[in-house]
């Protein structure tokens, strides 16, 4: 059971930062709050008493998104359901709808935020590999002499390990910045104990852009979750594929190379096997999901069918 001495729901970022700066040790920020309640139960943290709970969901500045310098700036209040329902987000972040549909369920997606998923830094977070594949960065704000100061950290540097991030005392995550990948095909692979409402054992996000005929990989983005302490970008596999012809052999080579990166502390053999299949399936699905795929000229489709 979660109890607290004070619950705050600031309406501005400045107000939130001031509350957070002054909050007693042990206080918590919440946004979706979908992790903290299940955590404060028997079998996990048990009954937890917080000095203060600061709820960021009422802050207008943390809602919405905008474009700048080829990047998409998602305010920290962006929830998973937005990746399913917002056509602009769907078009520009082609892997995110696939992540979202495998993430929790409709009710939880309405409140669970991408930023919250990142700052919790679970090694099996569904959103993290996709954000890494989208060259994601997170903006952190703090109060300094009464002024709001901001810094931006690449997600790969931001996550240090399970539950550990670069976030400093007094900082609040305000924005997630991602590449716009309009024209890419996106995919997400996930394996867990069951289909619905389940935490990943391992997951893989993929983005693929080809030439208009679908013959050559122009750009490939691959990232894994659940196979090490943090998300893992598969740069070697991406390099191998970039400029390569879209052929099953190339995909398989890349997939086998990826298995060597698995560094989990448990179920190593299982995860290695899963990773090979994931990378292959994610690439195939991302190819199939390309928006500009012209059926009549599609080489990749035929190649896959022959595989």
């Amino acid at each position: 059971m979660l109890t607290c001495d004070a619950y705050h729901r600031p309406r501005t970022l400045a107000e939130a930062l001031a509350l957070w700066a002054d909050a007693p040790e042990g206080s918590r920020l919440v946004s979706g709050a979908t992790d903290i309640y299940p955590w404060a139960r028997d079998g996990r943290a048990g009954d937890v008493h917080l000095p203060a709970m600061i709820d960021l969901s009422g802050i207008g500045e943390l809602r919405g998104y905008g474009f700048g310098k080829g990047r998409l700036h998602l305010a920290a209040g962006t929830v998973y359901q937005d990746f399913l329902t917002d056509p602009v987000l769907r078009q520009n972040l082609p892997c995110m709808p696939h992540v979202a549909i495998w993430f929790a369920d409709d009710q939880i997606r309405e409140v669970a935020t991408l930023a919250g998923n990142l700052v919790n830094a679970s090694p099996v977070a569904d959103g993290t590999p996709a954000v890494v594949a989208l060259n994601g960065a997170i903006e952190l704000a703090r109060l300094e002499d009464g002024e709001i100061r901001r810094r931006t950290v690449e997600i790969e540097e931001f996550i240090h390990g399970p539950g550990r991030t670069a976030i400093r005392k007094g900082e609040i995550a305000t924005q997630v910045t991602l590449d716009t990948c309009c024209g890419y095909g996106g995919a997400f692979q996930k394996v867990g104990q069951r289909r619905s409402l389940v935490i990943s054992v391992a997951c893989c996000a993929a983005l693929v852009r080809t030439d208009p005929e679908g013959r050559t990989f122009e750009d490939v983005r691959l990232a894994l979750g659940g196979v090490g302490p943090g998300p893992m970008r598969l740069r070697e596999a991406e390099r191998m594929l970039r400029g390569e012809r879209v052929e099953p052999e190339a995909i398989l080579r890349a997939a086998h190379g990826a298995a060597d990166r698995v560094a989990s502390r448990s179920r190593l053999d299982y995860r290695r096997e899963v990773v090979v299949n994931f990378v292959r399936a994610a690439l195939e699905e991302a190819l199939a999901n390309r928006p500009n795929r012209a059926a009549a000229h599609d080489q990749s489709k035929e190649t896959m069918a022959n595989a």
Binding site: Y7, T34, Y37, R41, G58, D105, I108, V111, A295
Partner: protein, 629 residues
């Protein structure tokens, strides 16, 4: 505790309340507004029974701070129809019989409503996907999904609203017909009150201290600090049991609270009744128990070894029950066999996972009658046992069966009613205990994990000549329904087949695992898994069709059962014929065709669930598809 003031709109009405700072939206709705149609099935966002609309979006209210209600527009299941007629979704749930125990139903109705508000044209795959956050344990979802499709067609104007009220005409018999449940309207509107939804004036909340150890002697229990806490009305232990302690479906081996020692993790050791839940939980945390750890038993095989730790003094061999069945002469039967098959089968522990966690209320009425309301599956027996435990004449004990939000056998055991009754007698105030989901998992009975050593002799033309069947079941720490489960497992051991020579032994033994008890099929499932697997393996070995080998051995009119009962009729032949036709079975030995078989994946076969119904043809790809065409 610190409070906060909230103003919001709930079901169209302005509401202002002062609630605890830590309250969840679910607490505001249930405790402060008495909107108990919104249920708490898990408190962890898993089950969906607490789903409500907040500013038009369906959320799980167990995961939302109440503070977020400030200024919000909230709609609960009670608000869907209001005082008017049922909504098409509610009517469709009534029509198809989608509500069984009903505990998941308010959440299901909310999820279905959300689905059709989001997409009134949603197809079945999308409906399934959008309702993926809600769990049901009674229906297998079929009738629920059928209801949502009917409601969709009515809402979309594809079907006339009259279909919602139309009933099929009954012939001579109700059997085989969909008959409306009279309790469905109460369930689809959230009006039905389960034990956790009931409130009495001046009611206390109970919480239970549970054992962290599987087997330990209780050296001492110190309740002084807990008892001194303001708001705590009583702390009870085994010492407070006024009568003869002990309950169980067959053997009364379980004390109301651990007496002298604990026998499994999660066993009740002490209980607190306090003015509110938080105080009760803090008082439980303040109880100090000194344990002396004892060697434990975790495998039923170990329980039978000489010198094994003894879990109950009355049963030095750790055997809860042994049921032997004998018929014919198995030595002669095996001697007459052309083929002898031997295999071992294991089945695991299973939790019932009814959506309603255990809950109850007890009070002492004006005539000193101790009254308990709880979703008990066995109230008369509970009443008799409770009278003994309380040391009261039977007319001073009353058990009322509150609506059961799923039981499946798991609510046959009186694992908390005794504590409630004792606390009510000590405080002379009503007391309520609502289990958390975690508590329900650790304290309630499970399906028996079983091992079966099976030996079957057959002639080469498929006739069974003898069976030797030995089942060892893990009964866990207490007897509960083990005796009956072993009896049923023995009776059903060799299936619906006439076997002239058999030797069946089913045994349940005590271990320090979570107690095993009643669960749908009551021992039949574990036995049938072994027997039917043996039948398929025998068919494979003898080159017979699996239907054929069953027909050769099946009970017929005049057959003598395993328990020497002469049957005057039998219907297995009709069942096999119907199953063979319905499955489009291709006759032959089960192993020879593999992937080539043509009777798999037919039109009425349910495909595996997949996700992404909303992604195909969505906005991102629709334009591209159009361009491509």
């Amino acid at each position: 505790m610190p409070d906060m003031d909230l103003s919001c709109t709930v079901n169209g009405r302005p509401v202002a309340r002062r609630v605890a700072a830590h309250a969840r939206l679910l607490d505001l709705l249930r405790d402060d507004l008495n909107l108990t149609g919104t249920k708490e099935g898990c408190g962890a966002g898993e089950c969906g029974t607490c789903s409500v609309f907040v500013d038009g979006k369906l959320v799980k209210s167990c995961l939302m701070p109440a503070g977020r209600a400030e200024g919000a527009v909230i709609e609960t299941v009670e608000g869907l129809a209001g005082r008017g007629p049922l909504t098409p979704v509610q009517k469709a749930f009534h029509k198809t019989g989608a509500s069984q125990c009903g505990y998941c139903i308010p959440g299901m109705v909310m999820a279905a409503t959300a689905c059709l508000r989001q997409n009134p044209e949603a197809d079945l795959d999308e409906i399934k996907e959008r309702m993926g956050g809600n769990i049901c344990r009674c229906t297998g979802y079929t009738k629920i999904l059928e209801a949502v499709e009917i409601a969709r067609d009515v809402i979309a104007g594809r079907a006339d609203a009259s279909v919602l009220d139309a009933d099929e005409t009954l012939g001579e018999s109700y059997i085989g017909h969909n008959v409306r449940r009279i309790d469905a309207p109460a369930k689809v509107t959230g009006r039905l009150r389960y034990a956790a939804d009931m409130k009495l004036v001046d009611m206390l909340q109970m919480q239970v201290l549970r054992s962290p150890h599987p087997h330990a002697r209780i050296v001492r229990i110190d309740t002084a600090e807990a008892e001194a806490m303001p708001g705590v009305e009583c702390v009870i232990t085994a010492d407070d049991v006024p009568g003869k302690d002990g309950f169980g479906v067959f053997v009364h081996d379980q004390p109301v609270m651990a007496r002298g020692k604990v026998r499994h993790v999660g066993e009740a050791v002490a209980a607190v009744a306090a003015e509110d839940l938080v105080t009760a939980r803090r008082a439980v945390a303040a109880i100090k128990v000194e344990y002396e750890l004892l060697p434990g038993l975790y495998d039923p095989e170990d329980a039978l070894k000489p010198g094994a730790p003894v879990i109950h003094d009355y049963a030095p061999d750790n055997v809860v029950k042994h049921i032997p069945l004998r018929k014919g002469d198995i030595a002669a039967g095996f001697a007459a066999a052309d083929v002898i098959l031997e295999h071992e089968f294991g089945t695991q522990q299973v939790e019932h996972a009814y959506l309603e966690p255990e809950a109850g209320i007890a009070f002492v009425d004006h005539d000193d009658v101790v009254t308990v309301h709880s979703p008990s599956q066995n109230i008369t027996h509970h009443r008799h046992m409770l009278a003994e435990i309380l040391g009261l004449p039977i007319n001073k004990v009353r058990m009322v069966m509150s609506p059961v939000g799923g039981g499946f056998g798991g609510k046959e055991d009186m694992i908390y009613q005794g504590m409630l009754a004792i606390a009510a007698m000590k405080t002379m105030r009503p007391v309520q205990l609502n289990f958390t989901r975690e508590e329900s998992l650790v304290a309630s009975a499970k399906r028996h994990p079983s091992r079966v050593a099976y030996k079957m002799g057959l002639t080469s033309d498929g006739r069974i000549t003898a069976v030797k069947f030995e089942m060892l079941s893990d009964g866990g720490a207490y007897g509960m329904s083990s005796e009956g489960v072993m009896r049923k497992a023995a009776i059903l051991s060799c299936g619906p087949y006439e076997i002239e020579n058999l030797q069946v032994d089913t045994r349940a033994v005590y271990t320090n695992n979570t107690p095993s008890g009643a669960f749908r099929t009551f021992g039949g499932m574990q036995a049938q898994f072994a027997t039917e697997s043996m039948m398929d393996m025998a068919a494979e070995r003898l080159g017979l069709d699996p239907f054929e080998i069953r027909r050769i051995n099946m009970y017929r009119a005049g057959s003598l059962t395993h328990t020497q009962h002469r049957l005057d009729r039998a219907s297995l032949d009709q069942v096999l014929d119907a199953a063979e036709a319905a499955s489009r079975w291709e006759t032959g030995v089960p192993s020879v065709r593999g992937a080539l078989r043509g009777d798999l994946g037919g039109p009425d076969t349910r495909r595996p669930c997949t996700l992404g119904a909303r992604l195909a043809g969505g906005p991102a790809t629709a334009a591209a598809t159009e361009a491509a065409e």
